[in-house]
């Protein structure tokens, strides 16, 4: 397991990628429908898309909205979650509201928010940050609730102010949990990004993807899927590396404890 820790990606996931591509190629050859082009055809489209300035601008627009929405969400979701975790009153205040909002698909708010703010960046960014904020609030809350009370008592006994305790004790102690929320948030951000661009087709990877589908350019559809997939993978890797750097101490001692055969 040491090899996993030192190299961020490792050899096995690369093999898994190749395996999936081979599976795709084989399935396409066997099934032989136009809706499932062989992997080779789709991958051949990749350089075409990636050398097209317009496509690159679209991808950049998607990323900009997503990152902006993501950062906005973190800025209010982490403090809100931490406060909820440290005060039963605050938690009781926000919990029912959050429980009601959680299962609402945030991208489904798109048609309504579009009525108010138009189909531009503002509505998409808001929808994305809504999608990110809920898992982050939830996990920050859980993390702050699980902080060892003795740590807080010690800090209080040494004369640390309440707000400083939240910042210096509760935040670092809850950080492993917060990162779980951030990772879930990333998944939801990507879902929301693609869907919002599909609903309000103007710019972005979602609109390229579904326009290609409508025009029956199936190889491009699959090439875009590969691009979005790689995007998700790389962003997740960035978060994972940041997590490894910030909360190294929280790494579980034994990764696998059962069934050591």
């Amino acid at each position: 397991m040491q090899a996993h820790a030192s190299s961020p990606v490792g050899f096995a996931p690369l093999l898994a990628c190749l395996g999936l591509l081979a599976l795709w190629e084989a399935a396409a050859r066997i099934v032989g429908i136009s809706g499932l082009p062989p992997a080779y055809d789709a991958l051949r489209e990749l350089p075409l898309i990636l050398s097209d300035a317009e496509a690159l601008l679209n991808i950049a627009a998607s990323l900009r909205r997503m990152l902006l929405g993501f950062v906005l969400a973190l800025l209010f979701a982490i403090p809100a979650g931490l406060c909820m975790g440290r005060s039963a009153r605050v938690a009781a205040f926000f919990n029912p509201l959050l429980m009601i909002i959680y299962p609402v698909p945030k991208a489904a708010l798109m048609p309504i928010i579009m009525l108010w703010l138009g189909i531009g960046d503002a509505s998409k960014t808001i929808v994305i940050s809504l999608g990110v904020s809920l898992p982050v609030i939830y996990h920050s809350y859980q993390g702050a609730r699980g902080v060892e009370e003795k740590l807080i008592w010690s800090a209080a006994a040494m004369g640390m102010q309440k707000s400083a305790r939240l910042w210096r004790i509760v935040l670092p102690a809850a950080l492993p949990q917060i990162f779980v929320g951030i990772r879930t948030g990333l998944v939801l951000a990507l879902i929301t990004m693609v869907t919002s661009e599909m609903i309000a087709r103007q710019t972005g990877v979602g609109s390229i993807l579904f326009n290609a589908l409508d025009m029956a350019q199936y190889a491009s559809v699959y090439a875009m899927i590969v691009i979005v997939g790689v995007l998700g993978f790389v962003l997740d890797l960035c978060i994972e590396m940041l997590r490894a750097k910030l909360v190294q101490w929280a790494e579980p001692a034994h990764e696998i404890a059962v069934g050591t055969s």
Partner: protein
């Protein structure tokens, strides 16, 4: 204790009441035209009306069928794969790289491919729900099973339980709290994803109703499917907590 409980309930109702009052106030003050923001009373009246409309209920049932079919498949697959990965080195070597690659991929982007391969009907939507709900459950099962105290397994093996039996009767129950947490995340993601899939391409289901209403500018009808999916999510969550309390009577509660 019980006064504290009612006090907390009242406190929790406060933001909801404020939100409704604010919404009502904006409409009454004429700050937003009714075409953009209908009054809350109009929305809830329409919701009650639709709750007795068999056509609306049929759409809601379609959504629920897809949700449960997808979630059920994801639950079985996720728990099985997670246990396999946690208990068997070879299975882990196979499953772990696959999930490392596939878990962060936004599955909604696969939806066009699923539509092309499986068609516009149930199958493509159920497949999308499975793809999205699978990984939280798989990951939680793996982590839960991997964190089980090895002494428990050794004890079971020492009294003669076979490896598989120890897996099912010791590891699985011990990992249950974590599995249920993952399953709950998976369930909420299922509700979100099935709705989105129906919004993208569908001729039935709650998501389709929302898109249809937005195309015909029936703002009131846009809110009704949203509130319905929220209620469905709440009921599922409550049902889940009930199950959790039953299964895990001794474990500490989770918020």
């Amino acid at each position: 204790m019980s006064t504290e409980r009612t006090w907390q309930l009242l406190l929790g109702a406060l933001p909801l009441v404020c939100l409704l009052a604010f919404w009502h106030g904006v409409v009454v003050a004429g700050l937003a035209p009714a075409a953009l923001l209908p009054a809350p009373s109009a929305v809830f009246a329409r919701l009650l009306e639709q709750a007795r409309n068999p056509l609306f209920l049929a759409h809601a049932a379609t959504t629920l069928i897809r949700l449960f079919a997808g979630f059920g498949i994801a639950l079985v697959l996720g728990v099985a794969l997670g246990l396999a990965a946690a208990s068997n080195r070879k299975a882990e070597a196979l499953i772990r790289p696959l999930w490392r690659v596939l878990a962060p991929v936004p599955k909604i982007a696969l939806y066009p491919a699923l539509v092309l391969i499986l068609g516009f009907e149930h199958a493509s939507k159920v497949a999308l729900v499975v793809a999205d709900a699978l990984f939280p459950i798989l990951l939680a099962t793996y982590q839960g099973a991997a964190a089980v105290e090895p002494k428990l397994v050794w004890a079971a093996r020492a009294v003669g339980a076979s490896r598989n039996r120890a897996l099912l009767t010791v590891v699985l129950p011990a990992a249950l709290p974590t599995i249920l947490t993952g399953a709950r995340v998976g369930l909420i993601i299922s509700a979100i994803v099935v709705f989105l899939a129906e919004m993208l391409t569908s001729t039935d289901g709650l998501g389709h109703l929302l898109v249809y209403a937005s195309r015909t500018f029936q703002t009131v009808d846009m809110f009704v499917p949203l509130i319905t999916i929220s209620i469905i999510g709440l009921l599922l969550n409550a049902g889940f907590n009930g199950l959790r309390k039953r299964f895990l009577a001794g474990f500490p509660d989770e918020g």
